[in-house]
């Protein structure tokens, strides 16, 4: 789960880099925003996996 979250973070960045390299004109901005959104999903997953661990460590 944690690994999946970090992979989503990297994938989001990959989408942004790919959009910058491969696309032109107006198509770039939506893909940058899509990459940004993917990263937020990844961040939420990573945070959630760590949040469960904190409750165990009291």
């Amino acid at each position: 789960m944690k690994l999946g979250g970090f992979l989503l973070l990297l994938s989001g960045w990959g989408i942004v880099l790919a959009a910058l390299e491969l696309l032109h004109g107006g198509a770039v901005a939506p893909f940058i925003l899509a990459g940004f959104a993917t990263e937020w999903v990844g961040l939420a997953v990573v945070a959630r996996t760590h949040s469960g661990r904190s409750e165990d460590n009291h």
Binding site: F6, L10, E39, V46, A47, H50
Partner: protein, 418 residues
């Protein structure tokens, strides 16, 4: 004195103010931690600054390189003929050395930031080794991209048209340090006794509010130097324009402090001293990226949003996602830093906003996984967290063998197992 010499002296003066920001952050971290770990907090700050500075001198600046705009410093083109080598080889005296000195001080400040989130449980030796990774890999790599890499060259992409802008280091210094703080808080886990079995957080109050508030004033002085020197060296800002940088930095801090005061007054019915200090710091942090390009009114708005956001984020991290960040370092440096980067785009143009978002995606999508992986790997080799005995005893006695306040019995039950 010519324009170039004036720029040089002024920039050197601003750089020499930066250690005040380190002193400020270190005092805030010490004050917000427990009394039994106060000396350890300040000792760790000194040790990580030393580790960061030395490793950056050895190989960090080699990886980072010069800013793209250094060639127009002071209105006169500077001759930077060679890429810097290891041990600053090939770095000429004058402006190139000034850039290296700014880098050493900046990485020093960046290295103190994670200590706040790892407070009261992070071993001294582990903090120094973790800093080596930060100063040798994470910080210089992102700084390279931001100052002279793909982020700095985004203007060449017709679809973007503007370069990533981060004059004082909201992203390069603050967000990198703040995201490392988040990675460390996740890896270390919460302090012993912070959360009940039901996940309810216990309040562990700051041990010295005076340190915290005085630290904010010190940081203000340091930040004006940091932002002004960064703007002059990385964005070729003219000496007279550095006044605008100082103005924007100060106004953003003031707005951040007052926003935190207002939000805590509404939220908790009375203003909270440590959150006001952190709101002030969030204002400073958010001001850095656009310190030379924002108008004073928009700098105030940037600081105000940062201060308000800080109060919400501190509570959300502690209660919502159970991240134990004793000094609020993640909210102050990562959240406010990222907001500062985005704010430059929000208050200038849509194209600039897109360039800033590319910078934020690099921080979240590359820097956070990188710093987490590096620290996770190091934690397999070196013990990061002190034993529960050490945590109970306090890091001063456990690691340093001497208390910060030997003449006072601050808590009689400190050595009694709970």
């Amino acid at each position: 004195m010519g324009d170039s010499a004036l720029s040089f002296v002024l920039c050197l003066f601003f750089i020499l103010l930066i250690p005040f920001s380190m002193a400020g952050v270190a005092l805030i971290n010490a004050g917000l931690g427990r009394s039994r770990s106060a000396a350890h907090a300040l000792t760790a700050s000194l040790c990580v600054v030393a580790s960061a500075g030395l490793i950056y001198y050895v190989c960090g600046f080699r990886l980072q390189g010069y800013p793209q705009q250094l060639g127009h410093f002071g209105g006169i083109e500077q001759q930077v003929t060679r890429w810097p080598g290891l041990f600053l080889q090939g770095v000429d005296y004058g402006v190139p050395l000034l850039a290296a000195l700014l880098g050493i001080f900046s990485v020093g400040l960046c290295s103190i930031i994670p200590l706040g989130a790892a407070s009261d449980r992070f071993r001294l030796s582990a903090s120094c080794l973790s800093t080596v990774l930060l100063a040798a890999v994470t910080y210089p790599l992102f700084a390279r991209w931001a100052l002279n890499g793909f982020l700095a060259h985004l203007a060449a992409k017709p679809a973007i048209g503007r370069s990533y802008l981060d004059d004082g280091g909201s992203g390069t210094i603050q967000a990198v340090g703040g995201l490392t703080a988040l990675a460390l808080a996740w890896l270390l886990g919460p302090r012993r006794g912070k959360y009940s079995s039901g996940g309810v957080p216990a309040a562990i109050p700051a041990h010295n509010g005076v340190f915290v508030l005085f630290g904010s004033f010190l940081a203000w002085v340091g930040w004006t130097g940091l932002n002004a020197a960064g703007a002059m060296l990385s964005n070729a800002v003219a000496p007279e324009r550095s006044l605008l940088v100082v103005m924007n930095t100060s106004l953003a801090a003031m707005a951040g402090g007052l926003a935190a005061a207002a939000v805590t007054r509404i939220r908790f019915r009375r203003p909270d001293a440590s959150l006001i200090a952190n709101g002030w710091m969030a204002g400073l942090v958010s001001s850095s990226a656009g310190c030379a390009s924002l108008k004073p009114a928009t700098a105030i708005l940037t600081g105000f949003v940062a201060g308000a956001l800080l109060v919400i984020c501190v509570e959300w991290f502690e209660v919502g996602i159970k991240v134990d960040d004793p000094c609020g370092s993640i909210s102050v440096h990562a959240v406010a830093g990222l907001w500062g980067v985005v704010a430059v785009g929000v208050f200038t143009s849509g194209a600039q906003l897109m360039a800033q978002i590319v910078g934020v995606t690099t921080l979240l999508g590359f820097v956070l996984p990188l710093t987490y992986t590096l620290n996770w790997t190091l934690a397999r080799v070196v013990a990061y967290r002190v034993s529960s005995d050490g945590e109970r005893q306090g890091l001063d006695l456990y690691e340093l063998g001497a208390d910060a306040y030997p003449d006072f019995v601050v808590h009689a039950d400190e050595f009694t197992p709970r």
